[in-house]
Symmetry: C2
Subunit: 152 residues, 2 copies
């Protein structure tokens, strides 16, 4: 951990750089469907979770709630999702609109092709392990404390 190679070893920098590169890659793959990787994720999650309150969606996706509010606005303006008040008057529930279903159907094969290329690039065996690492990093970020250093 010499000061000279600080960023080369920074977990945060490397994770974010990898995420940027993958984001661009998936964005280009999904371009024919007219959506980016973030929107794809949002549409897919909405389809999976059915009518779902925004906060629950945010928790599920690991994004800030207010970020989701704005990201949903873009999809809503394109009629890809609908947002309606829930039974609890505080909540607003997100649903996949017909146009959103169509776009998602067009996007899934494009996503699958790109995903397959990545899995092949990493190698099938290593890919599962890679996904596990990403899950672990996410979990470490979510639970900031982990106060017991586990004598590591």
């Amino acid at each position: 951990m010499k000061a000279e190679h600080l960023i080369r070893n920074c977990t945060c920098f490397n994770a974010r750089r990898a995420a940027r590169a993958l984001g661009q890659l998936y964005d280009r793959a999904l371009a024919p469907a007219g959506i980016g990787n973030a929107q794809f994720t949002l549409l897919a999650a909405t389809r999976e979770l059915g009518p779902v309150p925004i906060s629950r969606l945010a928790t599920h996706l690991g994004t800030d709630r207010t970020t989701l509010t704005r990201n949903l606005r873009v999809l809503r303006e394109r009629s890809l999702v609908t947002i309606a008040p829930g039974r609890d008057a505080r909540t607003r529930e997100v649903s996949l609109a017909p146009d959103g279903e169509a776009v998602l159907e067009a996007a899934v094969p494009l996503w699958r092709a790109q995903q397959t290329r990545i899995v092949a690039g990493v190698g099938h065996a290593d890919w599962a392990a890679t996904l596990d690492r990403l899950h672990l990093l996410h979990r470490l970020g979510e639970s900031p404390a982990t106060t017991e250093d586990a004598t590591a």
Copy 2:
């Protein structure tokens, strides 16, 4: 790869979610120094590379060149970096300003503490492997083709 758990297996989504979580974690750790993780990276890279043209910095950090232009503007307005024309009149070279040195010096211990927590959380042995995975993902994103599928 059932359609139901599409995002759960998406390499892009998981990488970006992990990056978001780590970004927030490092942001909070660096807050006392008055900078975020992206700015920390930028300052550290500038110190390492000395007076450096923007494009070279962009290549080095894996960010878009135009993104760097704007991110540098923020640091420049805070007098953390200086930007001067290079010998080649097309280039503009970035240098770490005195204030930037001070901020960076204050930030490094904060960074190191957070970095250590992450390394401990992942486990020393696994951490190196994790970093390798992130490097690989970055590389896969950078070279989109990798045309030879290696019979995978």
